[in-house]
């Protein structure tokens, strides 16, 4: 596997508050990386770095061997917990948006054959995520789970190099969340995606990931707690093959309930 995203000695500081320090990380193509850690440990900051929403205050980030510009681009797809879809567009319109932007720089609208082709491609993508019966519905008419399916379809239509997920299933109820796990596993396998997922749910992190990163503060100064940032304290590779997930779905992975494993203690300094 080739390396896709490489962070070397990356620091994130806001004023004199250090959020992340000494992040050295290489993410390989095709990996499903789960990022966990207590609140305020910089999980979302790490994702913002990968997204290009923020530049690191020190260090380098390389994507495919090229320095990452501090701006979002179509090579990185993203799904947030909320507000990921456009409320004024139907499901079909939401998915077509990415195609329209690329093909029509001036109006971002297509017509004729190009429109029909984009429509076709978008409806196939909606079928992939199980929204074939809701193509003309507006997000306000959809449940939370359906909106997240739509957000995933919308991101995947651009075939991004990396798919970034920021607690994508955090607001869903457990049954729907399980469906979404199967969906994302299938898409990860079918589209050969590279995924970075930030989550609060340790079970979810181990169930889906091929690698689990734990961010936490590793030193603590009681007088100036903001002067030490978080770094990767655990980097756990999981033996999970793309093939087995594509054959019999989610059942083949993670037989034990990982949240029972005694070795993984996230909240050692009681700051959660």
């Amino acid at each position: 596997m080739t390396e896709l995203l490489k962070l070397s000695d990356v620091w994130v500081e806001y004023g004199d508050k250090i959020v992340l320090e000494q992040i050295n990380l290489t993410i390989e193509e095709g990996a499903f990386v789960s990022v966990i850690g207590p609140s305020g440990a910089g999980k979302s900051s790490l994702l913002r770095l990968a997204l290009g929403q923020e530049a690191p205050s020190r260090g380098k980030i390389m994507l495919d061997g090229v320095p990452l510009p501090p701006e979002c681009g179509p090579d990185r797809g993203v799904v947030f917990q909320h507000y990921s879809v456009f409320p004024h567009l139907s499901a079909l319109g939401n998915v077509m948006f990415g195609l329209e932007c690329a093909q029509s720089p001036l109006l971002a609208k297509l017509s004729g054959a190009a429109r029909r082709q984009a429509r076709e491609e978008a409806s196939q993508m909606l079928e992939e995520v199980g929204l074939q019966d809701n193509m003309h519905a507006y997000p306000a008419q959809m449940s939370g789970g359906m909106q997240q399916r739509l957000a995933i379809a919308q991101a995947l239509i651009k075939r991004p190099r990396i798919l970034l997920l920021d607690e994508p299933f955090g607001a869903l109820d457990p049954g729907i969340r399980n469906d979404m796990h199967q969906l994302i596993t299938r898409l990860w396998s079918d589209y050969e995606l590279t995924v970075i997922m930030v989550t609060h749910d340790i079970g979810e992190a181990f169930k889906l990931g091929t690698r689990v990163l734990t961010l936490d503060k590793w030193r603590h100064d009681p007088h100036a707690p903001h002067r030490y940032g978080a770094k990767v304290v655990y980097d756990i590779p999981l033996t999970r093959k793309r093939e087995e997930t594509s054959e019999d779905g989610i059942a083949a992975t993670a037989p034990t309930n990982p949240s029972d494993e005694g070795g993984i203690t996230i909240d050692r300094i009681d700051n959660n």
């Binding site: 979002c72 681009g73 179509p74 993203v78 879809v85 456009f86 409320p87 948006f97 932007c101 507006y138």
Partner: protein, 271 residues
């Protein structure tokens, strides 16, 4: 049952809404009749018959001097000024509001200026407008624009700036340029708000229109009211005020209806 939980059905609501209006009309009639019992030529509270007589001349009899039907000419002149002012304000609010709300450098450059203009009382600028544009139509339309456009611009800019950051980022990951973001993400989402802003500025727009017409005009609803005030002609003033209220309410209703029909996504998908 608590009053907060009492649901009022549509037909019942209409009926209940009519009660205070009917009561007010009755109160007026009783008061007018009492005054007329004491002084049959009272001008302060005219009876409906006197209003019909006075309005008949304005509605259907051409003016001896100009040959126009004054009521309709007044209405046309005032509505033309109002719609010109509203139209210019709406377009500039959309354009400037989008730029201010979406582009941080534009906001940094012009944000303070817009705020500064917005806090100047527009009537204080009226002399300047009269000096600059003369006493014609331009000055009156300009007063409406100066009166409501800054408020609308700030409202639209605020609404654009309050769009979830996630949406702006997501659009960029889908390959949208600044221009595409503006016309495909920000513009359509701000349109329902724009109609709402027009509704809210309708009241101030009428105030500025009537003020401008009262000070310098030779036709218009506001001009007529202030003209006949000299003769204590309440039998013209009252119907004119009622007519202005009716016009304003109709425009408001049309705007609400348009908003619901044109942007179903903004109202939970219901049509």
């Amino acid at each position: 049952m608590r009053w907060v939980n009492r649901h009022v059905s549509r037909s019942r609501g209409l009926m209940m809404g009519a009660i205070p209006i009917i009561l007010l009309v009755l109160l007026y009639l009783v008061a007018a009749a009492e005054r007329h019992a004491i002084n049959p030529s009272d001008k302060i509270l005219p009876l409906p018959g006197a209003m019909v007589d006075a309005m008949w001349g304005l509605l259907f009899v051409p003016d001896q001097l100009s040959g126009r039907l004054l009521f309709w000419a007044d209405t046309a002149a005032s509505l033309q000024r109002l719609f010109l002012g509203l139209g210019i304000s709406t377009l500039s609010a959309l354009l400037v509001g989008l730029l201010l709300g979406l582009l941080p450098p534009v906001r940094a450059t012009f944000g303070m200026l817009v705020t500064g203009i917005a806090v100047i009382p527009p009537i204080a600028l009226l002399p300047i407008l009269f000096i600059a544009f003369g006493l014609g139509e331009t000055a009156k339309v300009a007063l409406i624009v100066i009166g409501i456009a800054p408020f609308m611009i700030r409202d639209i800019a605020g609404h654009v700036a309050a769009l979830p950051r996630e949406q702006i980022l997501k659009a960029q990951t889908l390959g949208a340029s600044t221009w595409q973001l503006m016309i495909r993400v920000a513009l359509p989402q701000v349109l329902p708000r724009l109609i709402e802003a027009v509704r809210l500025s309708l009241g101030p727009a009428w105030v500025f229109l009537i003020s401008a017409e009262a000070i310098a005009a030779d036709i218009g609803l506001g001009y007529r009211i202030f003209l006949v005030r000299r003769y204590l002609a309440m039998d013209v003033i009252l119907p004119y005020v009622a007519w202005i209220a009716l016009l304003a309410a109709t425009i408001d209703f049309i705007l609400v209806w348009t908003n619901r029909k044109a942007f179903p996504w903004a109202h939970g998908g219901r049509r």
